[in-house]
């Protein structure tokens, strides 16, 4: 499936859709919204392949598109929708289901802890831990200084550690 200006959209999808999906799901906490945003991004690229002209880091560029789209969506949502988002945050998990019950509880708690973070800290944490980007790459993708990315990550990690400490300590003892 070749695109007009030589953009191989299938390759793009296969390489980047999975990390974008997890990132968007972590931000929106809604599968339907995540699908809409993902489709919006790929349709935008198919319609305007010139957007990729001169782009060196495809992943960073796509993450920026995804982040902006998610922020726009969150702004479009009213207070009522945000309440729905908070409610949904208790149910929608960003992680794969675990067979081990302890691990399942940990993932559930982690999902909850992530939901309690402000979106900007959540974005940085996700990109650092589950996309494996460096602070420089995160800074490029989110258009923020690298120091800001690093400090947001530290704050988020401290909060999550405080939130998960009892469970984490227990699991460590059991190991």
């Amino acid at each position: 499936m070749k695109m007009p200006a030589g953009l191989d959209i299938e390759r793009f999808y296969d390489e980047h859709a999975q990390p974008l999906f997890a990132f968007l799901l972590n931000l929106t906490r809604d599968e339907a919204d995540t699908r809409d945003l993902l489709q919006e991004i790929f349709v935008k690229l198919a319609r305007e392949p010139k957007l990729l002209d001169g782009v060196r880091e495809e992943r960073a560029f796509l993450i920026r598109l995804a982040h902006n789209a998610a922020i726009d969506l969150m702004r479009r949502r009213g207070t009522r929708e945000r309440t729905k988002e908070n409610f949904a945050a208790e149910i929608i998990s960003v992680f794969a289901p675990a067979s081990d019950p302890d691990e399942a509880v940990f993932r559930e708690q982690l999902t909850q802890a992530l939901a309690e973070l402000p979106p900007e800290q959540r974005a940085v944490t996700h990109l650092k831990l589950w996309v494996g980007l460096t602070f420089e790459e995160i800074a490029t993708a989110l258009e923020i200084p690298p120091n800001t990315a690093a400090s947001r990550y530290r704050y988020a990690l401290d909060k999550m550690r405080a939130r998960l400490r009892p469970l984490y300590e227990e699991m460590k003892k059991a190991e």
Binding site: Y13, A22, L38, Q39, F42, L45, W130, L157
Partner: protein
Amino acid sequence: MMNDEMEQFENRLRRQPVKEIPGEWRVKILAATQTASRPRPRVPFLSTLNSQLSTIFWPHPKAWAGLAAVWIFILVLNFSTRDSSPQLAVKSTPPSPEVIVQLQKQQRMFAELMGPRDPAVADRPKPQMPRPRSQCTEWQVG
């Protein structure tokens, strides 16, 4: 010690696998991109206008029709009750000679009461102020 603990915690988080993207999304999203990349046929102006108006009027067509009916009724009512009698200015007659004489008399009385008219302050010529030497061009030329 503290850093080690933090690192362990970080690694623990990193090891948590994120959810997989549903497989069926691929076909749907790629199909959407195919549709989007096709050149769009030119839509005639009237068709665009029609679709725009439909978008505006679609939610409550009966309400819009009702509103239009009310306006038509108001216009009809307005035209039917319009006053066809001639205007007041046309109807009025010129004042009688007695009235004119009376008015002239009043005007003269008023002029007498006011007394002779002084020339206005603004009309008086301004006293000539001595100009600075630099502006005495006649002298310089002379």
